[in-house]
């Protein structure tokens, strides 16, 4: 196959049922978005696993780097007061 005929990679997201978000199901190669949707249907929803599909060119996904995970997510770790369990409720306080 010549280089020009290499189909680009797409990431596939499937909504399992109404009320749930789209979840990454996997990836596939397709010439364009329409073909990617058809392939995604045939590949990831052969047993009724989805009611809606998104396909995204893999090249369009920007991802955080695993090497920088600590630095990147650190700000979330030192603000424990964001969790309601941080606060001790006095006896008798309810519905809070």
């Amino acid at each position: 196959m010549s280089e020009t005929s290499e189909w680009p990679l797409w990431e596939v997201f499937v909504r399992a049922k109404r009320g749930l978000g789209h979840l990454h199901a996997g990836s596939l190669h397709a010439a364009d978005s329409r073909m990617a949707l058809h392939h995604a249907r045939d590949l990831y929803t052969r047993r009724g696993e989805g009611v809606s599909i998104w396909v995204v060119p893999a090249a369009a996904v920007a991802a955080s780097s695993p090497d920088e995970r600590d630095a990147f997510f650190d700000p979330a770790a030192d603000k424990v007061y964001r969790h309601p369990a941080f606060f001790q409720l006095p006896k008798g306080a309810e519905h809070l």
């Binding site: 196959m1 010549s2 020009t4 005929s5 290499e6 189909w7 990679l9 996997g26 990836s27 596939l28 190669h29 010439a31 364009d32 073909m35 045939d42 590949l43 052969r46 047993r47 991802a63 780097s65 695993p66 090497d67 920088e68 995970r69 600590d70 630095a71």
Partner: protein, 351 residues
Amino acid sequence: MRHNGYSAPEPPGAAELLAEVEATAKDGLDRGRAPLGPGEHTEDELLAHFEAVVAADEKIEPRDWMPDAYRRSLVRQLSQHAHSEVVGMQPEGNWLTRAPSLKRKAILLAKVQDEAGHGLYLYSAVETLGVDRESLFQALHEGRQKYLSFINYPTPTWADAGALAWLTDGAAIVNQVPLCRSSYGPYARAMVRVCKEESFHHRQGFDALHVLSRGTKAQKRMAQDAVNRWWGPALAMFGPPHEQSTHSEQSMRWRIKRYTNDELRQRFVDICVPQAEVLGLTLPDPALAWNGERGHYDFTPPDFDELRRVVAGDGPCNRQRVGNRRRAHEEGAWVREAAVAHAAKRREGVR
């Protein structure tokens, strides 16, 4: 399965295997081990961290640092697995138009379509390791990468399609259920999907044999002959004995695989014997007997010399299988090129 008023008994063992798949799918939802901090790390530090992650049964993901040998082992195992799914469509492809009823044709078509799908899940998983799909196809077509040896055997009767599915898909499930816990995230996730679908393959084969075995004398004999042909190749699917296996030791330490070839083969035999009784068929091994001391069935190991010959390319159908695959790829080139040209034209049109 229930159709036309008959139902096949549940194959013993399958429920437990599926439960294992469900359990692994729920694993690994916690946040996992923190990576090394930012900055430069020595190879030893990186390796120590990698091994700690694996030892704690956490997953390695595509962009994580990994030893070259781990990457190489994964590429070898995943591409062999993907090729097996794709070339593995051929022995049954023979029966798509010849299956004895419309129902059986439809079932077989769905199974073969699943196998194409499994190949695609697995090729995508290999690609996360930085190998492009085209080079995998080339390696398959040039014989540099292998696929499972049983695929090189012919399917001369309809019962062979059933026996092949009951025995080799059964062996594949025993092999693959532990792979749902593989240390490499994309492989483990692909295997959860594969195993759930493989269970249908296994059962439809069992069901087809069950019908034949309760049919006429000639049908029962056809079923028995097919089981006789497929028992050996199915046992050989687990590979050489552990002490002769070239890749096992390190793959187990890195949790790419989790049990020895011999442990899995024994598990397969233990599952098959009672299933064969339900089928009313015998497994072609006079040495097959329950060993109360071991708590397992004793059996004759497969012919490993034959396995080596077939893997090396000298099985009954090797040339035909690879030749078909190569021809399909070459003759399909114009379709791939036309799709790209059409996509480019549509993009132009949008502008």
